[in-house]
């Protein structure tokens, strides 16, 4: 043939250039989608309130009962002691912090005699009781943006071997640091 018929870079390729722009637009959409996925996943904090509530329960339990017997500062000879007023100081707990404007913890301790499990001999309530209302809402299903509530019970005896059931409620809020709000 006299002249080459097929061009290596064809002149009339306007349609291809339009398609290329569109392809870059698709790539941008996909990149945006991936950025969104990464932001959503890594932007969500770790929720450690379950462990924190368990540790709070354990620390309170260690304070109430030691080697199987209830702390005599709380109950002695079947009689509750008045020194339960400074319960947090006795148990070396501190609920307030400069990190938060409000206290983020709440705890209730009920001590029942075994023969009368409906009426507590001693009850202690410490912390911010505003968070208590969230516990009744979550009786059937936990909601992550509400404070985490944990109730545990154990058995112990006092210094005169009277049997007691001790029930501890631990409430941890700290929602902003554990849940994506």
């Amino acid at each position: 043939m006299k002249n080459k018929i097929f061009d290596f870079f064809p002149k009339n390729s306007r349609g291809d250039k339009i398609l290329s722009i569109y392809w870059f637009a698709i790539l941008l959409i996909v990149a945006g989608g991936i950025f969104a996925m990464v932001y959503v996943f890594y932007g969500a904090p770790y929720d450690v309130r379950q462990i924190e509530a368990r540790e709070l329960t354990n620390q309170i339990a260690n304070c109430i009962s030691y080697t199987g017997k209830i702390n005599t500062n709380l109950i002695s000879g079947g009689v509750p002691s008045l020194s339960s007023q400074n319960f947090l100081e006795q148990c070396h707990l501190i609920f307030n912090s400069s990190e938060w404007s409000d206290e983020q913890f709440y705890t209730e301790v009920y001590i029942y005699k075994l023969d009368n499990p409906d009426n507590p001999v001693l009850d202690i309530k410490k912390g911010n009781n505003n968070w208590l209302a969230g516990c009744s809402i979550q009786e059937n299903q936990t909601q992550e943006n509400l404070p985490f509530c944990l109730t545990k019970s154990f058995y112990s005896v006092d210094n005169t071997d009277n049997p007691y059931i001790i029930k501890i409620l631990s409430v941890v809020r700290k929602s902003e640091k554990n849940v994506k709000m």
Binding site: A44, A61, S65, T151, S153, Y155, S156, D161, K180
Partner: protein, 97 residues
């Protein structure tokens, strides 16, 4: 340039089926891609909700007792183990997470 006696410019405007087909393909492809991306972002949201560091005895459905509390209960029973059944029934009722 090749010349054709019966050719005229109006014939070029009629045969645009390939362009139409390709455009429709791109539109549907874009919609499918956006739909898939939305599904994946939603899945990321669901996966991010699993970033809960839990423990076996606190998770719903597993009412396993904390070792610390079990130890205290056991020590108490060593000292006074009367009414053990009552103790067990009260403790099982009272634990929730």
């Amino acid at each position: 340039m090749l010349k054709c006696k019966n050719c005229n410019s109006s014939n070029f405007l009629k045969n645009k089926k390939a362009q139409t087909a390709e455009t429709m393909t791109w539109i549907i492809a874009t919609l499918v891609i956006i739909g898939i991306l939305i599904i994946f972002v939603y899945l990321s949201v669901l996966v991010s909700k699993t970033k809960v560091i839990g423990v076996g005895d606190v998770q719903a459905g597993l009412q396993k007792e904390s070792p610390v509390l079990l130890e205290k209960t056991s020590l108490g029973k060593i000292i006074n183990d009367k009414n053990e059944n009552i103790i067990e029934s009260i403790l099982n009722q009272g634990n929730s997470g």
